[in-house]
């Protein structure tokens, strides 16, 4: 997938993934990379940014193996953000689809 597309959509994808279920970093990377080809170097800073912007909050859970894991949980603000981004995405997709249809007619 085009990197420019990816960057724009990744925030929505990550927000959606966490809003479905609380996750820790590595879990999230696995989850997201099932759908979008993306590396850890993009996901982790994004998680940091979303946390700093108060869309996520974090808590630690002791794990059976190794040190405690940091889980990400969506906030009320985050939920609002998801709504907003979803709407933006849908609007964008419909208008692009519409435009594509118009163009196809002309062919």
């Amino acid at each position: 997938m085009n990197t420019q597309f990816k960057k724009g959509v990744l925030e929505l994808v990550v927000l959606l993934a966490v809003s479905k279920k609380d996750m820790y970093g590595y879990e999230l990377v696995l989850e997201v990379s099932k759908f979008v080809d993306v590396n850890d170097g993009t996901i982790y800073p994004l998680l940091k940014r979303l946390t700093n912007d108060k869309y996520f909050e974090t808590y630690l859970v002791d794990s059976t193996e190794g040190p405690a894991r940091k889980y990400y949980k969506i906030t009320v603000l985050g939920k609002q953000r998801v709504k907003e981004l979803k709407k933006n995405w849908n609007d964008f997709v419909t208008s692009v689809n519409k435009f594509m249809k118009e163009c196809m007619k002309g062919e």
Binding site: G25, Y26, N39, G41, Y44, N52, E65, G66, P67, K70
Partner: protein, 448 residues
């Protein structure tokens, strides 16, 4: 890159953040790496997933709304680019060379191809040596040019020693390159022979195993050869930098420091040289900066960049001040000569010795055997004296240095008043020699 160096680099790049924040990030990332290793990835692969560390650090800093440009790019990118550039070009060169070698020796143990390979390698070696020779010839010429100033027996000795040194150095470099080219070749043929002997003795099952092992081994060896070539080429580049930049720069800096001391002395005497002092200081800073940058290539350290800007600013101010100072210096032309007329009587053939430009003027009104010499000169600098015996007349200047007059003092005194004269005229002596044709014919003018 391993986990340790990855974390170290990350820590350094994020040092602007609060410590617990950094630790939090590092912990999370190292957990990720550990987890991946548990799931079967190698440490290297796990770190590769994070991409370039600098890029990653930039993204993290962006999450804190910090402009990463000033923090990460600043010195590491601009100055380490040189190191990276050398690294890259060395790698490219070595890749090219080793690919070429591999292409050539795909089928081994065949003498014809082995000979072909050798010939091609020798050609490569010759080309590389020829190209590498250019700076050495420059160095040789430079040395000869410098040593030719010395006196007769010394200059020959110095030239010979210098020539020997440069040649030895050149041969060492050439041999190193030749070694780099041919070493793996010799090794490979030996090892492959021994391997083929071993495999032929073993059973089919084992053969498959050993084959896979040898394949792995040869892969590893290839990597080793490449890194070996990289390090050799890197070393050669570093030697070049040392010889042609680092070493001369040290001399330049020492020279500049001497010049600064001299200028300070003249400043104390009272000559306005502030502009030149500024220029010299700025040049010292700039050269020291270049020196540090080059030196840090050897030690893999980073260099602070601000001395460069200080140097540039000082240079600009210095140039401006110098220009302003020179604009104010008044150029005084010395064109008034003193004139001295000397009369001689000549009755037989005589040598007239004089120093300077002369002009013979025939004057038939003058009596036979009489000549008169008019000397135009600047009497602050020298007096005109004559000396004669039976068939020789000598006219020569006596310089007045002994009398307390000194050109050097004069220049200093003039510079203090922002004046400068065309001092070379002080040493000009012009003569006009008058006499009738008969008399002039018997004298022989010797201009020494």
């Amino acid at each position: 890159m391993n986990k340790k160096s990855f974390i170290k680099k990350l820590k350094k790049n994020l040092s602007i953040l609060e410590e617990n924040e950094v630790n939090d990030i590092i912990e999370e990332y190292s957990d990720n790496i550990d987890e991946k290793i548990k799931n079967g990835k190698t440490e290297e692969e796990a770190i590769k997933d994070f991409g370039d560390v600098d890029e990653l650090s930039k993204e993290i800093l962006k999450a804190y709304k910090i402009n990463p440009k000033n923090i990460i790019e600043d010195d590491s990118d601009t100055l380490h680019n040189l190191e990276k550039f050398i690294d890259k070009s060395a790698k490219k060169l070595s890749n090219f060379a080793s690919n070429l070698i591999n292409d050539i020796k795909q089928k081994d143990n065949i003498t014809l191809e082995f000979i072909c390979e050798m010939i091609i390698k020798i050609i490569i070696l010759l080309i590389i040596c020829a190209v590498l020779g250019l700076p050495f010839w420059g160095l040789l010429g430079l040395g000869h040019a410098i040593f030719d100033i010395a006196f007769f027996p010394l200059d020959v000795v110095l030239n010979v020693v210098w020539g020997l040194l440069v040649w030895i150095l050149y041969f060492v470099v050439c041999i190193l390159i030749g070694f780099a080219l041919f070493k793996d070749n010799i090794k490979n043929t030996k090892e492959e022979k021994s391997k083929s002997k071993k495999t032929s003795k073993k059973s089919t099952k084992e053969e498959i195993k050993t084959e896979s092992i040898t394949e792995e081994k040869s892969k590893k060896k290839e990597v080793n050869n490449k890194s070996y070539l990289v390090s050799i080429i890197k070393t050669i580049i570093k030697i070049f930098i040392f010889l042609f930049f680092l070493f001369p720069i040290v001399f330049i800096i020492v020279g500049l420091i001497f010049a600064i001391v001299a200028v300070i002395y003249y400043l104390i005497i009272g000559i306005n040289l502030w502009g030149i002092l500024l220029i010299l200081i700025s040049l010292t800073i700039l050269f020291s900066f270049v020196f540090c940058v080059l030196k840090n290539i050897f030690t893999n350290k980073k260099t602070v960049i601000y001395p460069f800007f200080i140097g540039i600013i000082l240079l600009a101010i210095g140039t401006f001040v110098t220009f302003d100072t020179f604009k104010n210096i008044e150029l005084v032309t010395l064109d008034e000569y003193d004139i001295k007329t000397l009369n001689f009587s000549v009755d037989k053939s005589t040598i007239l010795k004089l120093r300077g430009n002369y002009e013979v003027v025939f004057d038939e009104k003058m009596t036979d055997g009489q000549i008169s010499v008019v000397v135009y000169y600047y009497d602050d600098y020298a007096n005109i004296e004559t000396w004669s015996n039976q068939n020789k007349i000598e006219i020569f200047p006596i310089y007045e240095v002994q009398n307390g007059w000194n050109l050097y003092d004069e220049i200093i005194a003039n510079l203090k008043d922002d004046k400068f004269m065309n001092y070379e005229k002080l040493q000009e002596f012009n003569y006009k020699i008058y006499g009738n044709k008969k008399t002039i014919n018997i004298i022989d003018i010797d201009n020494f």
